[in-house]
């Protein structure tokens, strides 16, 4: 499967935090051909294992983590007219919501919209006031009595957005954050079929990163990796974006540099990218947090961790936009990194 189709399949399915089941199933289906074992754990993370060539008991493990969940909405009240009051799940940006198409994930999937009051019906000055979640509701066009058997308070709402190919290899979709990372997991394992590696590779699509980082905490505890790399998205360039905070699209994967990441992993990723002439960039991050690397670094007695990010425009919106080449290079870099893991590198990680 081509990378573009892979991204489409992964972003077409819902995986609102805490309810990643559908996305986990698709991930398992897509990654299985390149894995020795696949499973979904009891909290909803999808796990794929591809064994390395090492022999013996004390097997070395590298864990790759990309989060499966996406931001969304939850129904908090069903109004008399059948209108559904909502709250955010994860960091949903309220300013994108009016006029958005949604699917309510009840016993049936119901199509709806986040209602946007037309100018004709607005009070004077209303259009100048920022939208608040309290003003908003989801409308399925059905009356309350038609909804009672289908939707209950607590039902999740997926914000819809059709996978769209822009020009020059740019792709836009909902939940690129972080299905793009999940696509990297699949693509990395695929490339490792062609590239020898000693260590066992655990590719984890983690649950609930957007709300608690839960999936990374629990899977790292269970697997006890020797090295871990989080794969996430980072802020891309665009009008109004501060240059010092962005990793431009098309300039390759951004390798994380900062206290959250083991300096030797950062160095190794960057050296290998240069050695293989892979376009890449460095992303500096002075504080731990915002990605699965936050939990991985302090799992058990500590796991040397790194971060590779895909530059993404319009994060936490329905038009999350990236460049395919960046995803490709990210998978290439990780497959090279994994194939070059050895015991010497591992020993070095404790020498400061």
């Amino acid at each position: 499967m081509e990378l573009k189709e892979l991204l489409k399949e992964l972003t077409d399915v819902s995986g609102v935090s805490g309810h990643e089941y559908e996305a986990a199933q698709v991930t398992v289906k897509l990654i299985e051909p390149f894995s020795d074992e696949v499973s979904v754990d009891k909290l909803g993370s999808a796990i794929a294992l591809k064994r390395g060539d090492q022999i013996g008991e004390n097997r070395k493990k590298v864990l790759l983590a990309a989060h499966l969940d996406e931001i969304g909405l939850m129904v908090t009240k069903i109004e008399d007219g059948g209108f559904l009051r909502i709250t955010n799940v994860g960091g949903t940006d309220v300013t994108i919501l009016p006029g958005q198409s949604v699917t309510v994930l009840g016993k049936e999937k119901l199509k709806g919209v986040v209602g946007a009051k037309p100018p004709h019906l607005q009070e004077p000055g209303e259009s100048g006031r920022p939208v608040q979640m309290d003003d908003l509701y989801v409308d399925t066009g059905r009356k309350k009595e038609e909804l009672t058997d289908i939707i209950e308070v607590g039902a999740l709402v997926r914000i819809e957005s059709e996978f769209t190919e822009l020009s020059n290899g740019f792709i836009s979709a909902m939940a690129m954050d972080d299905r793009a990372g999940v696509a990297v997991l699949v693509e990395t394992l695929r490339r490792l079929k062609e590239r020898k590696h000693e260590w066992d590779v655990y590719a984890i699509a983690t649950a609930q990163e957007e709300v608690s980082g839960l999936g990374a905490i629990t899977t790292a505890f269970h697997i006890q990796p020797d090295v871990a790399i989080a794969i996430d998205v980072t802020f891309g360039d665009g009008p109004g974006m501060p240059e010092r905070r962005v990793s431009p699209l098309g300039k390759g994967p951004a390798i994380g540099l900062g206290p959250n990441f083991h300096p030797k992993i950062t160095q190794k990723l960057s050296d290998l990218a240069s050695e293989y002439e892979l376009t890449h960039q460095i992303e500096v991050d002075p504080y731990p947090g915002g990605t699965d690397a936050y939990s991985l670094q302090v799992s058990r007695e500590g796991v040397p961790s790194g971060l590779v990010s895909i530059p993404l425009r319009n994060m936490h919106s329905t038009v999350e936009t990236l460049k395919l080449d960046d995803v490709k290079r990210c998978a290439e870099l990780l497959s090279i990194f994994i194939s070059r893991l050895d015991s010497k590198f591992q020993e070095d990680l404790k020498c400061f």
Binding site: T95, G99, Q100, S127, L166, F170, G238, R313, S317
Partner: protein
Amino acid sequence: MLLEKLSNASGVSGNEKEIRQVIKDEVTPLVDEVSTDSMGNLFAVKKGSDSGLKVMLAAHMDEVGLFIDFVEGSGFVRFKKIGGLDDRILLSKKVYIGENKTPGVIGLKPIHFGNKGSVVGSDDMFIDVGASAKDDKLAKAGDTATFATKLVQSGDILRGKAFDDRAGCGVIIELLKNSYPFTLVGVFTVQEELGMRGARIAAYAVNPDFAFTLEGTTAGDTPTKRDVSPSTNMGAGPAITIMDRSFISDKRLVNLLTDTAKRDNIPYQFKRTVTGGTDSGAIHLQQGGIPSVTVAVPVRYIHSPVSLMNINDFNNAVVLMDKTLQRVPEI
């Protein structure tokens, strides 16, 4: 499905090319004459008996949307709004630009970059088409852009864009399938959203005895902070306008509609707000004055990327209009 074709087609005011072609293809087999005028209004004439009576049906083809006014050297596309659009509905929406339907997205600064204390104005927004430099093939000044929304049906509810006024266009197309004892002129107008520009010259040219404007109008039966009567209710039947900002309906036509609805048990309602205008506002002033009325299908969330309409309201509008037209010679 007719409404699907009509809703999905693009036709931002001043650039109604695609929707005009869709409608032309639909009406050509149904009528005696099809023509266009200097602004792009589309006329479909169905001749009746030689009574001399002439009735005009008007619905506007155009829709609100975006007008590309500048492309940055970096490839980002800037735009102006066409028609009444609230800035707050624009962020994070997909659009198609120009004749090539270049896909683009209206981008935004992520939520992580701070609390948005004020509304982002459309002049500060941009469309990303995936270009890293100006590229006329993708987007250029003068292009229009429509929301990339596709119609979906779920039970009786249709979800899609531009029901204002593709609903009205659909009603006229359905009516042109029938025959009446007078000449019926279906007019699909341009530039209604820019101030009823097309209907004005169309009505002058047609010079009918009576005119009906068919619309998709605001359904206001949605949560509000003040206790006010909703403009119209979705699912409660076609809405007859008695008065709006642009005109006062001809009382004889209103009575004929309500009398017919009662006689034949067709649900109907009156529009209960007087905001907004329709093509009737331009039509009724032409020539020596043309008695006019507006009949509309209630639509929730008009002038946004996606709206809702109840298919029963559409069908009832067709039935009400058909039965009423049969009685126009009684006036």
